[in-house]
């Protein structure tokens, strides 16, 4: 080796040492948000070398906790069909298999509900955890856990499922650790029965945690009670005469400075808020309306898209008579939530009725330990809670419970307490266990007796009978209260138990209608004796489904799939001609006239190629905001009337306008707006907006590009989601696909013998982003294609070459 003497060799030594050590430290460092980059990316043990779950060939497992052998047959679509000799073993293996595919998803959902996210994410999710703990999610799970413990059958299902999940967690090696845990540099948490129940409570929050009472009250600071009723009560309800007295706080009588609380509510990330409309469609035709003579069910649940998908597809069978179910399961929960077996099928849409009320509490003392009720001082029940935070000491919280529910927000003299059906102890899992045992429509309906939250429109179908039940905990209110915050000082506003099961709204076929359907529309007419709510979805989807079902006398399953993919927008068909009729054509330029022509020729189908759909959506949104913002504030953070209300306003205004509709054109300043000018201005603005974003009008304005479908990773990790530009549909079409929300599970079941079914969802079986199964079904889902499936018999397991075999520890396979 040659040696050339240089000056100051220690300087170069220090430099090289600094560079080498800092590079090594940088790649080794584990922060609060991620694990070591070096360990993650090195090819020998990092992500590149992570083994995939083996769903091909045969594998054998020897497990403690099983009572007998269990077969898992993986079909060509990589759906597990689990065959056990008893329910507990089926749930055990369901837990094991689901965890092997979706462990991180299960963990994150339970952590969300339990306010335990900060334990792995650090400070950045602390306010979210505090919110969920504050609104009583932990206590709600504890109450339901106590109830489940009283039911031996259900509790044993939970315990077996938990044991299965934990058996998988124990089998994880550093190399089989799910990618997200590696990225975050954390370990999975052991599963418990309580975590399963927390998963149900999270679903309840997303689907039945909606309440616009505070938004409406905010509007009352600017509008009269009559104005509020005109804008927000569903026109259908008004026609049915249900606009009776709602709420105790007419006028501006609430003492709280509620905008501050509204700001607290806004802190919940958009994708978690229950305020987004989580709708769905389900319908069924009787045998008299099907070609085969057997009933057909169709269901598509509309939820936020995510990868891994919300649902996990599986079959569970647990005795010699092949009892069980095939369908959509929720990772973290034993049983099948939406599905079918050889005798029945069932599905859900969100019930949407009002199951959450706000009560204004008046403090008795400055220490805020007592509050006033019927002139008496009542003490709070205080629960000490702790939130673990990664990288810092735990945060302690006191959750204060009133007789109504937990205090969600407090000021000097007043506070807001929540009364919510999800706080009531409940045993939803029993419904799913009963579904799997049910052999008839009536047994399916009977299983709904145990279902409390989130309130759903359950459709039950057997070969001949069909019905929809608005099932869940529906509070009996003393008066038609619940639209606005209630007076927490008076017994008058108190809930008086729940509406009895036999009195829950139920739809059955009639002599002139041999189908049932629900699409989140109002469920009762004015003859129903109880107040249920006001915030139902616009009726466009429900009307379109009814029209399509009435058009033909006989249906096949293929025809049902076609209805699920229907993209006709009844909202656009109703309002667009009114909008176009008012535009001042003479003021438009050449390209604007071309856009008008395009809209006039539009068939109102929201296909991915439709340019007219993009123009309509942009124009309508601008017009709506321009119309209502002087009275209701900017759209973001506010509540606007239903689309049907805006359509009715426009119809009345164009026909000359009654006094009421004219009022909405008069600004608070006294200035009178001209409708045609408003529409022309927003039309021009919408075209300018589209041109700015997508260039000149043309292919780039197609709906597929202006409203791309975005399926994000469940923890919003960038790069782990999907973006599609070939999907059609919209908020008010039967195919309710819109950007990040829509048909998250689609199913059609033909109740002939043997039962035939078709399913699909925007995801795949695997929760592992580097597994080709992660997004296996997305492309077919985007095209509206469905996958034929059926309820397997045990014989098919023997024919299948792809199966796992679970045996008791010590038993010889």
């Amino acid at each position: 080796m040659k040696f050339r003497p240089r000056q100051a060799p220690w300087v170069r030594l220090v430099l090289s040492l600094g560079l080498a050590s800092s590079s090594l430290i940088f790649l080794s460092i584990t922060t609060h948000s991620h694990g070591s980059l070096g360990a993650l990316l090195e090819p020998f043990r990092g992500l590149w070398n992570a083994p995939l779950l083996n769903k091909r060939g045969q594998q054998q497992f020897n497990m403690a906790g099983l009572k007998g052998p269990v077969y898992v047959a993986w079909d060509a679509a990589h759906v597990p069909h689990i065959f056990a000799q008893n329910p507990q073993d089926a749930f055990f293996v369901q837990g094991y298999v689901t965890a092997s595919e979706r462990l991180f998803q299960m963990d994150i959902q339970a952590r969300l509900a339990g306010g335990e996210l900060s334990e792995i994410m650090g400070d950045k999710t602390l306010s979210l955890d505090q919110f969920f703990v504050q609104i009583g999610m932990r206590e709600a799970a504890r109450r339901s856990l106590k109830m489940a413990e009283q039911d031996a059958e259900v509790y044993s299902a939970f315990v077996a499922y938990t044991a299965g999940v934990n058996a998988y967690i124990e089998s994880i090696t550093p190399q089989t650790m799910p990618m997200e845990y590696r990225l975050l540099g954390v370990q999975p948490k052991a599963w418990t029965v309580e975590r399963s129940i927390q998963t149900v409570k999270m679903m309840a929050f997303r689907l039945a945690g909606r309440s616009y009472d505070l938004f409406l009250h905010k509007h009352l600071t600017k509008l009269s009670w009559d104005d509020l009723k005109e804008l927000f009560l569903m026109p259908a309800l008004e026609m049915d005469g249900l606009d009776t007295v709602y709420g105790s706080f007419k006028g501006n009588s609430m003492q709280l400075h509620e905008p501050k609380f509204m700001a607290v509510l806004q802190q919940v990330p958009e994708f978690l808020r229950p305020f987004a409309t989580n709708g769905s469609n389900n319908w069924a035709v009787t045998g008299s309306k099907s070609v085969s003579g057997f009933s057909i069910l169709a269901n598509d649940t509309h939820l936020n898209y995510s990868l891994p998908a919300i649902w996990y597809e599986a079959q569970l069978s647990f005795d010699k008579s092949n009892m069980g179910a095939y369908g959509a399961t929720i990772p973290g929960l034993p049983g099948v939530v939406i599905g079918f077996n050889n005798s029945i099928s069932w599905g859900v849409t969100n019930g949407t009725s009002d199951v959450l009320d706000w009560y204004q509490i008046r403090w008795k003392n400055q220490e805020q330990t007592e509050y006033l009720f019927e002139g008496q001082a009542l003490s709070l029940e205080v629960q000490a809670e702790e939130i673990k935070v990664r990288g810092r000491p735990p945060v302690k919280m006191n959750v204060k419970w009133t007789r109504f529910g937990p205090i969600a927000y407090s000021e000097k003299d007043y506070a807001l307490a929540i009364r919510w059906s999800a706080h009531e102890p409940s045993n939803e899992a029993k419904t799913f266990v009963e579904f799997m045992k049910a052999k008839s429509h009536d047994e399916c309906v009977e299983a709904l007796r145990y279902f409390k939250t989130p309130l759903q429109n359950f459709i039950c179908v057997d070969a001949q009978k069909i019905s929809i039940t608005h099932a869940g905990y529906l509070p009996k209110r003393p008066r038609a209260e619940g639209m606005l915050p209630l007076n927490g000082e008076s017994r008058e506003s108190d809930w008086q138990g729940e509406i009895p099961f036999q009195q829950l709204p139920r739809a059955i076929p009639t002599s002139d209608r041999d189908f049932v359907r629900s699409a989140n529309q109002p469920v009762v007419d004015r003859h129903y004796p109880y107040y249920l709510g006001w915030d139902y979805d616009d009726p466009y989807r429900a009307r379109r489904i009814a029209t399509l079902l009435e058009e033909k006398s006989k249906f096949t399953p293929e025809a049902m799939i076609a209805i699920q993919n229907d993209t006709l927008n009844l909202q656009a068909r109703g309002i667009l001609p009114l909008m176009l009729a008012s535009v001042k054509i003479q003021t438009l330029k050449q390209d604007e006239l071309a856009a008008v022509e395009l809209l006039k020729r539009w068939d109102f189908f929201e296909s991915s190629e439709s340019v007219a759909s993009s123009i309509f959506q942009e124009w309508y949104n601008l017009f709506e905001e321009e119309l209502w913002s002087p009275f209701l504030g900017p759209r973001k953070g506010s509540l606007y009337p239903k689309k049907l209300t805006t359509e009715n306003f426009l119809r009345k205004s164009i026909d000359g306008g009654d006094e009421k509709s004219k009022n909405w054109l008069k600004l608070p300043s006294g200035e009178i707006r001209v409708l045609s000018e408003l529409l022309t201005k927003t039309f021009k603005q919408s075209l300018a907006n589209l041109e700015r974003q997508y260039g000149k009008m043309g292919v780039s304005w197609q709906r597929g590009f202006t409203a791309k479908t975005k399926i994000s990773h469940i923890a919003r990790i960038p790069g782990l989601g999907e973006e599609l530009d070939n999907t059609g549909g919209g908020r008010y079409t039967v195919n309710a696909n819109r950007v990040d929300h829509g048909p998250a599970w689609k199913m059609v079941v033909h109740m002939k013998s043997p039962v035939e079914a078709w399913v699909n969802y925007p995801g795949g079986p695997s929760g592992n982003p580097i597994d080709p199964d992660y997004n296996k079904y997305v492309a077919a889902w985007a095209k509206g294609e469905m996958r034929p499936v059926h309820y397997w018999n045990i014989d098919e397991v023997e024919r299948s070459e792809n199966h796992w075999f679970f045996s008791q520890q010590g038993a010889v396979p």
Partner: protein
């Protein structure tokens, strides 16, 4: 020399932790004649095995590891991820080899200085 490093990387990589492999790259600097050649051997000694392994092992995932990482980092193509990882490995090995060489030179310089001081003592 470089083939020997490739072989060692491929053999040791499955056994020792990733960071220890880079610490071992210090010895390249003791063996190579110049600073530049040390860094070259360090860089390419790690770059090629890492590139081959990342591409090869990603094939079992149908290229999804690089695809997901490309999405997370916002780079257009998976191939950049392969190159980025291999370059990162090569860079770290090169810095370690450089450190090794500087350690060697420092050691020699100290010994020379001592020898000069000893000679001066003798001349006095």
């Amino acid at each position: 020399m470089i083939y020997m490093v490739w072989l060692l990387v491929l053999l040791l990589g499955w056994i020792v932790p990733w960071w220890l492999m880079f610490v071992l790259a210090i010895f390249i600097g003791f063996i190579e004649d110049t600073r530049l050649s040390s860094m070259k051997v360090g860089f390419f000694g790690f770059f090629f095995p890492w590139l081959a392994l990342t591409v090869g092992l990603d094939l079992q995932h149908q290229g999804l590891v690089a695809l997901r990482l490309a999405g997370m980092l916002g780079v257009g193509y998976s191939v950049w991820i392969y190159l980025l990882i291999a370059t990162a490995g090569g860079f770290l090995a090169a810095t370690m080899s450089w450190l090794g060489h500087e350690l060697y030179l420092f050691n020699v310089a100290v010994r020379l200085k001592k020898r000069r001081e000893f000679k001066n003592t003798l001349s006095v």
